[in-house]
Assembly symmetry: C2
Homo-oligomer: 244 residues x 2
């Protein structure tokens, strides 16, 4: 019997943002594999085995999911947001490339609402013009590359969505990112801190980048730095469609 | 009586990718306003008025929606994908800023699965590392700015999602974009053409950028140019999480 491996995004937090496609995959699953807080978002039921694991265990988790699927189980690997954006899909394909014995597995990737889209919707439309997304975690890339990308993104006048801005283990990176953006001429840009978006703990703040403080962000925050034209309409913040 | 204006994303095409939040807003609406092919995706029912309009009518459409909401109607403005990504949300806020009489309206933005996420999921995980999204339409910005952004995005080694790559009215832009990316050293990069993703007409092609031809894209295509590390694992294409 051949099992199947589905890599699914649970959206940013609110169950009303889980797509019917993902809900159907969860309803059909025998096993759900993922980082503990994401697995906790899946309702327990008879016949469903929940496999929760710690952060930074992505490759072990991917291999576990593949072993289960190869044994004939219907496995869903869950991520928050979209599984393809700084989440489990890349880890699964890395594992697949290194593991010829699993190349025959049936795999599907089911997209979801990634955090920056939910954060943008709460603030208005700050991603309504060209934009980029940068993961500020330097676990898997050198900090120098992050700084280079921030500078080039500022020069390109992209709106900039920052994922994983700050963790307890590396509190200094986000402070440095704000300095790099100031040096790159972004002090006036409207900057949105969206914390725990679409959850009961949601909190949205917006202020000019020059007034942003590192402590405004944690690992549950998405930061969106507007482009040079980003502006307010009443309580809303948006990027005009037109650029000159 | 005060109405409400909801700006909602219908996802890339498949009804199974419409969030329950958006489905509930549509079920509660008295009026749906949008570009004709998107309004056609909303099921007709008694008590629901469908207002379909032509492309490039974004500001007229936004004003119509606001007039209806101000008259007490429950209006949903629909976009394909996510309403905040090259879609109606920015047009609504532009109209709001210019129209003090509507500042009191109750407005909500409901996110959706934007086309690049669905395209990426079908291909694998090409957006699993830092990336950017560029709208290739030059209706609202000069072509020189598009070229500048393409060059800087290549230099930053972002994966690059290109929206609206090609239309009948400007067939030459996408050809030029491919040339710019070749000049910027991206000839070897794996490039994905995702046509009508999640619809019955879906078609996915991937090849090195040097072999990409302009005719492979139309307005229903999302193009994703991988970063320099993007690779294949069997039939899948992904960006490794690690960068050096």
């Amino acid at each position: 019997m051949t099992g199947a491996l589905t890599i699914a995004g649970l959206g940013p937090g609110d169950a009303a943002l889980i797509t019917p496609e993902v809900a159907a995959a969860l309803a059909d699953a025998t096993d759900v594999v993922g980082y503990t807080p994401y697995v906790a978002r899946v309702a327990a039921r008879e016949g469903l085995v929940l496999h929760a694991s710690d952060n930074r265990q992505e490759l072990l988790r991917a291999a576990e999911a593949m072993r289960l699927a190869a044994a004939g189980r219907r496995v869903v690997v869950v991520s928050s947001g979209d599984p393809g954006v700084f989440a489990m899909a890349s880890a699964v394909f890395e594992t697949l490339e290194a593991s010829p014995q699993w190349q025959g597995l049936i795999i599907r990737v089911l997209p979801g609402v990634t955090a920056m889209l939910a954060a943008a919707a709460r603030a208005g439309a700050p991603l309504g013009h060209d934009f980029c997304a940068i993961n500020l975690s330097d676990n898997l890339k050198p900090w120098s590359l992050i700084e280079k990308r921030l500078r080039l993104a500022a020069e390109a006048d992209f709106a900039i969505a920052l994922y994983n801005p700050r963790s307890a283990s590396r509190p200094e990176g986000f402070a440095r990112a704000l300095e790099v953006l100031k040096e790159a001429g972004c002090s006036d840009r409207i900057t949105i801190f969206a914390h725990a978006v679409t959850t009961p703990e949601e909190r949205i703040e917006a202020l000019p980048l020059r007034d942003a403080r590192p402590a405004m962000a944690d690992m549950r925050t998405i930061v969106i730095v507007g482009n040079s034209a980003t502006r307010r309409a009443g309580r809303w913040i948006y990027a005009p469609r037109r650029a000159s």
